[in-house]
Subunit: 213 residues, 8 copies
């Protein structure tokens, strides 16, 4: 069993029928479901046979309502994003982490071009066990956050931007070269992967009997 | 104070004199020292006035003998590397993590082209709180490890290789695209950064009174 | 005559009419046909005048039912792929190799993030004359396979992935930098080319009278 | 005459003899001199025949003592840099701007990983007519500064860093993609060019009779 | 308040409804509006509820008729472009600068392959406070202009071209490497950003009482 | 045992002492030795304690005189190269293949800019079991060869060239995109890897009793 | 007047109306017309008002029937292409050269993977004043041709291919690195530019009174 | 015989001994010699046995004094360069063309940042049969020249520059994307190749009896 987390299906490039078939197979083993990168249209089709699943349309995630929500009750994961265009990826991270049983607090629109919005929230952010920082364009957010917190930071570059942004390459390189310490990076737009790593980290911060599923 | 970790100096491009001056200034505040990327020659020169510092010549690190060694006594960090040419970076990670107060266990020469050496050690590796996987050339090690353990994996691409390796770009892209979950990546050859993130994660796994310095 | 293999038409960018015309011309010389990269729609149109041709919709290949099937009867070619998204390319390779007269055994969904599925099949794979390993994203499969078998391995990177995958560049670089020996690489998504090379190799393993057409 | 600025010689790749010859020719027209990218060794050689020139060894600039210093007396140019390794480029910018007759105020070591050092100085920086922001590695400084000031910002990426920094490409892309407004960018390590643009801008802020030479 | 300039909305990727909502919110604070990258279709929809806004269909900008037009009355900004395919970006710059209160003079179709058209207009261009030079393909215009004027030049590469143009990379690199002085560069196709920087510079050339809003 | 081939040491970046130590360890198991990328100077040092090893100074290979030379006696491997600057890589391939027990025939200086030299030799080349084609600069040789022979072709790009050659990238891309069939590619300058793959293929062409070690 | 050649309009990105307007303006000066990259649909629309223009649908060129056809009567330009997919670009070159008054001879489908088709025609090709060689994928054709002829060769890379072809980059680099002499290169898919250069060269080969218009 | 031109040796990477051996072999056939990319030191060594050869130290070319100098007496080749740092490549082109029997006129230091120096010479340049334009950094010179002359232009990018110049990539892309017509491009720093193409073109402009050697 994958660390007690729901079984995940990568929705992109799969038809609603294919997704439905996989879900049925997984549920036969009694496992929870998390489908990422699934459009509203396909989700509606899948839900016609699986009405028990919830669809989050910003995150584009379809998942099992999780009774074990917040089973990792000690502390929270902070999810930050720079601008409104990074929302889909930030929500992919946030909803995934919640589906994995973590408490999430969202700090959105805290990009570095308006540094005071970040500073206004920094004391709460510092209480998190781990931060997920999502940013496109120049991707500078993790560097500033990394300098202000003393917990691990997972950085997620997004493909938001144009021109010399090269579909997220700019933000990716920024994050890999960060001069702040304690930052590690996942693939462009990979909100899911960031949440997975963050959840594993968050679980370590739990009292043993709960944390180790 | 930076999370109770020693003050770090990036030695590359600094002269022995410059490093000595910075060390003296930091020690005036009573802090421990960690100098990375310092050649044997420069280290010898610095040690003529600072004989209390220890030099690790594989890691190319000069640092304060840390009485607080293993202050994070719960569990260990696994440091894995693929081949002998990745040794410098792997040791930069391992020695840094030890200087930060973590126990480290080394699993070297476990590259994927000889998968059985990795499999022979996997049960012990699975006991770690977090793994640091160092690999150059095709950089496939973290993908295999990520599939076998259920703790966070920090992947470090190295610039070891030639031709289409493009100074580590190959291994970097491999790791960012890993289809295993729970992997996040630091810059090429950044053993120090990997250890820093790993130490922050490892600290979360400590009973509160010790872990939160 | 091209080594006794069917005449191949690259379907991409050709209309159904153009393909039909070429087929008719080739058949006038009595040759077998293999059309790659032809969509189901175009295939249906071509088959309205050439019902004798078979269409494989996963491989997107249209070809002559080959009486000489398995004319290279000694041993088999192993076709491996990492994930279900690599299926089209893997099948392009497998169906091409079969159309060329080779026996093919398929080992699908044996990606390195779940190494045990590969290990469970490795003894049979080791019996092959040559392996074709198809993988997208990080493309680590050939490295692991290359370390476990002692026959030639043809590696096919696929364009499956997103972000820092850069349309298959990531997997391509991984495979070119493999630290396992006996691996050579074809273009991204080039299942056809892999099968062609593999078939030439497989033919060498035949008793002379059959192998040299 | 180039806007009343000294005649500039790009020292890189020229011998001390070649530089000396060019200086002599320029001085014959009564013009001031500014030699950039000239090593200490070459500068010493040139100064043996041109002792009237001043050498700044951090900036690696050799220039005429300018009696017209501060002829653009209204306001100042702020030169900021992220870390000590960016010093050479920052000083190339600062010394050039001074040689061009501008007042310069330096704000060094104000990188975004320690945002408070920048914030501590921001009120004085806001008084500048124009800022030059120099940063290597992730190059995030201009984005933060651009959000805090209401004058034009010239961003200079430096080649400081390693790995995925790709000799300054990372910082260059960051700056071109900045989501702060009022930022324009010069070539990697081009402190001279930044100062030239800044001086032209600064001159516009002068009362007409002085500003328009 | 952002330097007395209108509040700007980046229209790309936002629906007409989303844009309308943001406009209403901004107008509640009494601010002027500038929406960039908004298609004619979306603009028509927004104007059905906000008929007071003007739409410029070449610039693809929707904005408030500005009574303060030309409030920066001293001098003008020159906007130059190389060919007719650069028109959209040039107009994005020109209309933005006008909306910001600057006088703009347009010099279009003055590409370097027909140098005399540029030379015929150069005396008027030299009178500007600042030039915005827009060019795609080889992007050589700023270099020639920079050599002929003694005011700051903002260079805007466009994505116009094909083949080895790589979506504007060619023009971007050309401009960053210009051997003319006084040139700084913004992102590919970023007419808005060029106008913003130019307006900040132009404002410095105003008599203090008007210029400093 | 690695398919009965000698144990290989990659000499680059290892000292003569390190190489000597490894050799001694391998010989203790009775295995043959092949050291690639070892300079003349280092080889001389190693041979002072291991005089039984032979050094080939063009190939920069040090190896055990192999009594089993030509144990794969059926047919030969053709090694082709385009120009004299590709010699080191071609010889690395040729000497390796010989050390592995294969007969090698060399066809050097048969670059496509003088196509007749290739055509003059093509009938003999067609008799090979497999060809290794080595080429730098534009790397066109494998395409022409692939069209003329009906056996597998291993293509080796070299880093020979300058400018837009980008250290072998040009030749690498050429070979991956070859429109001839039956070609597969190894890393830039990887003569060793080409020989390894070729030897595995060549072995398949042997009568079973000899070929399968 | 542009060397007596027709006035050229680049059709891409222009509407039929825009093209019609430009044509009318040019014809008012009595000049001939050449519109490149114009689709059949747009051409039909333009011809509804300009029926005197001829449309070549493979070349996607619309142009004035030129009474001066073959005014450069001495010799011919050879246009070669590698495969059928390069036809559009080859025809763009051929039709342009003809519209410029040159005789053109076509040698199509002479790619290097089937070298004998090229060799069968080489004697006639050698009689040309200049060759235009068009090739996609690996782009090796110009190298082979350059070695066989003693006149100038213009090389045109095409964007035909997939994967590591990177939209023509592969063929472009191949041609720039050609080890044959007398080759110069134009942009990817730029058949027009190749024809323009070739026509200028061809004109030099005319007896003075005709050649110098 | 290669078009009656001297036999050329590429000196880079060859020792003085190797060059001497090749020269002796070529002279045995009575051919003239041209060695490119040979340092002063190596040239001195070669001339100790071949004192009849002339060394041009700017061009770094060693060659046979050619009695046939100016055998192509009709017209001249114009060699232009942008700045003094492009001199080596410009002279490689000029000296090669002269050694091939062409008259050459040099127009140096006519970069586009000081357009009037180019315009002052343009009438003479227009008389050339063909121009070679050499430029580094932004490489804009060929575009301006191409718009002013009506003969073929060969463009040579140089690797002169730093930062975003990427060793000549910037100038190369600029030239490939030129919007002026009649321009074709050779490899970065390839003065030799430009001269070769130019000489072939120049020869076409000769009265037949002389031109066709
Ligand atoms: N090996 C390393 N790789 C990357 N960053 C490092 C390394 N060593 C130290 N650092 C960072 O560099 C900072 C010190 O830089 P400096 O002030 O230039 O000596 C430390 O605080 C670390 O954040
Ligand atoms: N899927 C494929 N990928 C790469 N090359 C192919 C593929 N299918 C066919 N080819 C090659 O394309 C040639 C036919 O191209 P064409 O004449 O354009 O149809 C065949 O002879 C093969 O060499
Ligand atoms: N065309 C443009 N190009 C680049 N940035 C722009 C453009 N238009 C607006 N912006 C920036 O985008 C911000 C608004 O972004 P948003 O809040 O996403 O609408 C503005 O404040 C500007 O800084
Ligand atoms: N400077 C140069 N740049 C590019 N190619 C050159 C140069 N000089 C000589 N060549 C080519 O290199 C060939 C000689 O190469 P090689 O036999 O290695 O000396 C000549 O025939 C030319 O085609
Ligand atoms: Mg931190
Ligand atoms: Mg795992
Ligand atoms: Mg193997
Ligand atoms: Mg600002
Ligand atoms: Mg200027
Ligand atoms: Mg073949
Ligand atoms: Mg030739
Ligand atoms: Mg012209």
């Amino acid at each position: 069993k994958r660390q007690g987390f729901p079984e995940t299906i990568y929705g992109e490039g799969k038809t609603a029928e294919q997704i439905t078939t996989i879900i049925t197979a997984i549920q036969a083993h009694g496992d929870d479901i998390l489908v990422t990168r699934i459009s509203g249209e396909k989700a509606t089709e899948v839900r016609s046979t699986h009405p028990e699943l919830i669809y989050n349309e910003i995150a584009e995630i379809l998942y099992t309502r999780n009774e074990r929500k917040n089973r990792f009750a000690n502390g929270f994961i902070a999810v930050l994003c720079a601008g409104t265009s990074d929302l889909r990826v930030a929500e992919e991270a946030a909803v995934t982490a919640e589906a994995f049983g973590c408490e999430v607090r969202r700090f959105y629109d805290v990009g570095v071009a308006g540094i005071h919005r970040l500073l206004d929230n920094i004391e709460e952010i510092q209480q998190a066990t781990v931060s997920i920082t999502v940013a496109g364009m120049e991707g500078a957010l993790p560097s500033v956050v990394g300098g202000l917190v003393s917990h691990p930071v997972i950085a997620v570059p997004t493909s938001v931007g144009y021109g010399a942004n090269f579909n997220g390459l700019s933000a990716l390189l920024t994050m890999l070269n960060s001069c702040a310490s304690g930052i590690s990076v996942v693939n462009i737009d990979n909100g899911y992967g960031a949440a997975y790593s963050a959840a594993l980290i968050h679980r370590l911060a739990q009292p043993t009997e709960e944390g180790q599923s």
